[in-house]
């Protein structure tokens, strides 16, 4: 059976989309939950500043910690995205291997 590039590319894209659509809800939900938490803490810090319970130096330190936490969440989102892409690529590679081996009738790869 001859390999058809058009069919193979469609199968590869299906593998990509399948993995990414499986992973995306988890990534999105994590981002949503953390964004809400960090928004709440920003409001709490503002209340401390406005009420005079902390001075400028203390406010700066609180905001440093806030910024670091936000940055860390964004880094995790980046990492989860990269892992999803990696899984999608490997799923596509598996499609190619299976297609080639089926086409040849034996396991070349």
């Amino acid at each position: 059976m001859a390999l058809k590039a058009s069919q193979l590319s469609r199968d590869i894209l299906v593998a990509f989309k399948g993995v990414l659509s499986d992973r995306w809800p988890d990534i999105r939900d994590y981002g949503d939950v953390e964004a809400k938490k960090l928004a709440q803490t920003l409001v709490m810090i503002e209340a401390l500043i406005v009420s005079g319970k902390i001075n400028e130096e203390q406010a700066r330190l609180h905001l440093d910690i806030q910024r670091n936490a936000t940055r860390m969440v964004l880094l995790t989102l980046e990492g989860l995205g990269i892992l999803a892409v990696e899984e999608a690529i490997n799923a596509a590679l598996a499609v190619v291997r299976d297609t080639i081996n089926t086409s040849l009738g034996f396991d070349l790869i």
Partner: protein, 152 residues
């Protein structure tokens, strides 16, 4: 224009197929990020527990003489050592740049926490947002680390 678009789309798809075929033919599995590291998982989890114990102790000491930084130096000294060890290990693992950067940010946050405590005792009002931010920080590192288990 539409003919040109179709031609570009066809070339892109052909390019993807060729690239993927070459990768498949080499028998390789692509790995873009390091694998799961149990030692990092355990150490970060332990540091989170230690940090939470510290915040709980500060809440209990709110308004009391024992609330000062001097009474809690041990936590800060130990946390510095713990986070340094985690950072060194993370940096030694290939393709682990994201986790390494996260641990450096955590180190910065713990440093800022100590500076806050040196200025004045930490009230319950301050501890509440700090707890959320630090837990978000720890969760961020652990979330990614656990995801590296790949199918686990």
């Amino acid at each position: 224009m539409r003919h040109a678009d179709r031609a570009i789309d066809h070339r892109m798809r052909a390019g993807i197929v060729i690239l993927v075929a070459l990768l498949a033919a080499s028998g390789c599995t692509v790995r873009l990020i390091s694998g799961y590291d149990e030692a990092t998982d355990r150490a970060v989890t332990a540091l989170q527990k230690k940090t939470e114990a510290h915040l709980v102790a500060l809440e209990s000491a709110d308004g009391l003489p024992e609330c000062t930084h001097e009474h809690h130096r041990q936590f800060y000294d130990e946390a510095k050592v713990d986070v340094s060890a985690i950072a060194v290990r993370a940096a030694a693992i290939p393709k682990n740049e994201i986790t390494t950067e996260q641990v450096m940010l955590l180190s910065g946050s713990l440093g800022a926490l100590e500076q806050l405590h040196r200025i004045a005792c930490l009230s319950k009002d301050q501890i509440a947002p700090l707890r959320t931010q630090l837990n978000s920080s720890f969760t961020a590192i652990l979330k990614l680390e656990l995801a590296k288990r790949r199918g686990g």
